[in-house]
């Protein structure tokens, strides 16, 4: 066996915040390898949940709502938002339970910290992976919507739909980062139930997926503070138009939150894990 050859400098691009991209990609690659083994069992429930909502709410409730959702087909109204929520869920699972297990139970990050990787690289790699997973779920849903569209439902009516994956990635990034932020705050894995019931689920219900937020008093104001609302509006705008100036605002809002969290979260992760 060859030995010792070690000691070449650590290569790879360094991003701001001293994040080494090649280390982050190693973390991504590991997750991708695991996912390749398990995607069949993993993708089905995550993928079917929004499809169930689409069919149940859209077709079921749609009978009563009819074309009264501002003159729009109800399935077509809720479909883009459900796609955004699929991306949110994909990213949130990774940044919460999965990450917590790697931090404290399987000690995987302890193993990585013995390599040239630093905690901020690992956090960034998990962010890339969470975003990828959001993209996988969102894109799966997009394919279903394409089917509905071809079958005559007016869901994907704009060529801007081609940019939907970018919006899904942005949603994935923002929810990965928020999940990671929450992960740095808690001391027991049970506390994720609060993250879900007090944060993600209300957002799912009140971010304009099922009804326009302007229809409830104060709805628009509250919704403006929640990232999912901006994601839903952006995806809906891309799928169905018309794109307006406010869509730039939605995009800018999400980019700004991402930038802020990207600055803060890897640092916090490092403080938390390297003591």
């Amino acid at each position: 066996m060859r030995l010792p050859r070690g000691g070449e400098s650590v290569s790879g691009m360094n991003l701001p915040g001293d994040i080494n991209l090649s280390m982050a990609l190693c973390v991504w690659r590991r997750n991708f390898t695991v996912y390749r083994h398990t995607w069949v069992t993993n993708i089905l429930p995550n993928f079917f949940e929004p499809v169930l909502f689409l069919v149940g709410m859209g077709l079921g409730l749609g009978v009563y709502v009819g074309g009264n959702m501002r003159g729009q087909d109800y399935v077509a109204f809720i479909a883009p938002g459900l796609m955004a929520s699929a991306a949110m869920n994909g990213a949130s699972f990774e940044a919460s339970w999965n990450m917590y297990i790697k931090m404290y139970f399987s000690k995987l990050y302890d193993a990585y910290l013995a390599t040239p990787a630093q905690m901020q690289d690992i956090a960034f790699g998990e962010l890339l992976w969470g975003t990828t997973r959001a993209l996988i779920y969102g894109a799966g849903f997009l394919v279903v919507l394409l089917g509905f569209t071809l079958a005559g439902r007016p869901i994907l009516t704009s060529w801007w739909t081609l940019l939907v994956p970018l919006a899904l990635a942005l949603i994935g990034a923002i929810f990965s980062l928020m999940g990671q932020w929450y992960t740095t705050l808690i001391n027991t894995i049970d506390l994720y139930s609060y993250y879900w019931t007090l944060f993600l689920t209300p957002m799912f219900l009140f971010s304009g997926i099922f009804f326009p937020v302007s229809d409830i008093p104060g709805g628009t104001t509250i919704a403006w503070f929640t990232p999912l609302f901006h994601g839903v509006e952006l995806v809906r705008g891309l799928c169905q138009g018309p794109l307006e100036l406010r869509h730039l605002g939605h995009t800018g809002y999400m980019l700004a939150v991402c930038a802020l969290l990207l600055w803060a979260v890897p640092r916090r992760m490092r403080k938390r894990m390297v003591k």
Binding site: M1, R2, L3, P4, R5, G6, G7, E8, S9, V10, S11, G12, D18, N20, S22, M23, C26, R29, R30, T33, V34, H37, S106, K107, L108, D110, A111, Y112, L113, A114, T115, P116, A117, Q118, V274, K275
Partner: protein
């Protein structure tokens, strides 16, 4: 090619090295130098601070005080730490293999962290699997391995980056005697290739066999250091006479043996006499206690260890 300037330097130099967790001081100002190419041991009772010291050396935890230079890099700054981590391989005390991957995938992912390409990682993983005799288990999931196999996989993983310095935290705990000796062979092979080894162990025979020099830690401090044989001769005597008296009260030391005995220690079932002149002492003991079993043996590192850190479990 220009000569490698770092080769002349020590592999690790620590001065007044400290580590505290909140108010608790785990490593309390220790000094040591590890030369390149040597096997350096850390011994000490549970909680002495060995693992904490290792973790500082491989830059998984920050240093609280003092200075630490590893392979020519002053520890502390992120860039220096990365360079250190690049050149140091780690076999941790706790099993942290990736349970969701196969053994081979575990190694491949680690190789990638050290900058190997996909193809290089595959080849290196095969080499490593062979080196630790795990080729047949390459595609097994980690949880399908026995405890000893997991340790061997960890050792292979520690070598993924072809380290200049290999840190082994209790590498042989849980191995069967066969596997332990195999591992020793492999560590000797690594040493012949100029790798520096930093080792902790609770097996004194292992430390005596493998380590060129060692330190004994207790409660965060270094309490003794040196070459194993030197340490034995300095801290205890060359020989020990054991007088086995069973459960009866320990016999008193007869006056004729007192000049021969530097120190005596009463255990529950035997009396230990630390002597310089083994021949004379065993003869005198056999004369004096014809009905008891008397034995002469060389002193071991275990005697040093127990003398220095106290026979806590017996007390």
């Amino acid at each position: 090619m220009a000569p490698e300037p770092r080769l002349s330097q020590a592999a690790v130099t620590a001065r007044s090295l400290r580590k505290s967790y909140k108010d608790f001081v785990a490593v309390d100002g220790i000094d040591f130098d590890i030369q390149r190419g040597e096997c350096f041991g850390f011994l000490g009772p549970n909680g002495a601070g060995k693992t904490t010291t290792m973790r500082m050396v491989y830059r998984a935890v920050p240093v609280s005080g003092g200075s630490l230079v590893v392979l020519g890099h002053e520890a502390g700054r992120q860039t220096a730490d990365r360079e250190i981590k690049r050149a140091v391989g780690v076999v941790p005390q706790e099993d942290n293999l990736d349970g969701e991957l196969s053994v081979r995938e575990n190694l491949e992912i680690f190789c990638r962290f050290y900058g190997l390409s996909y193809r290089e990682a595959r080849n290196r993983s095969s080499e490593l699997l062979e080196f630790v005799n795990l080729s047949e288990k390459a595609n097994a999931k980690v949880m399908e391995l026995s405890g000893g196999m997991k340790r061997r996989a960890l050792i292979a993983r520690g070598l993924a980056g072809s380290p200049q310095l290999l840190v082994l935290d209790e590498p042989t705990t849980g191995l069967d005697p066969q596997a332990r000796h195999n591992l020793w062979e492999r560590l000797f092979a690594l040493k012949r290739k100029q790798a520096t080894l930093l080792l902790t162990t609770h097996y004194m025979d292992e430390a005596e066999q493998l380590c060129d020099r060692l330190v004994i830690m207790d409660k965060g401090k270094i309490v003794a250091q040196g070459k194993p044989r030197e340490l034995i001769e300095r801290e205890v005597t060359r020989h020990v006479v054991e007088v086995w008296h069973g459960e009866a009260a320990a016999p008193a030391l007869p006056s004729e043996m007192q000049p021969l005995t530097r120190r005596s220690e009463a255990l529950s079932d035997r009396l230990l006499l630390y002597v310089d002149d083994g021949e004379a002492a065993i003869a005198a003991a056999a004369r004096h206690w014809p009905n008891l079993e008397t034995r002469l043996r060389r002193s071991t590192l275990e005697d040093v260890f127990l003398k220095i850190t106290g026979r806590k479990l017996d007390e």
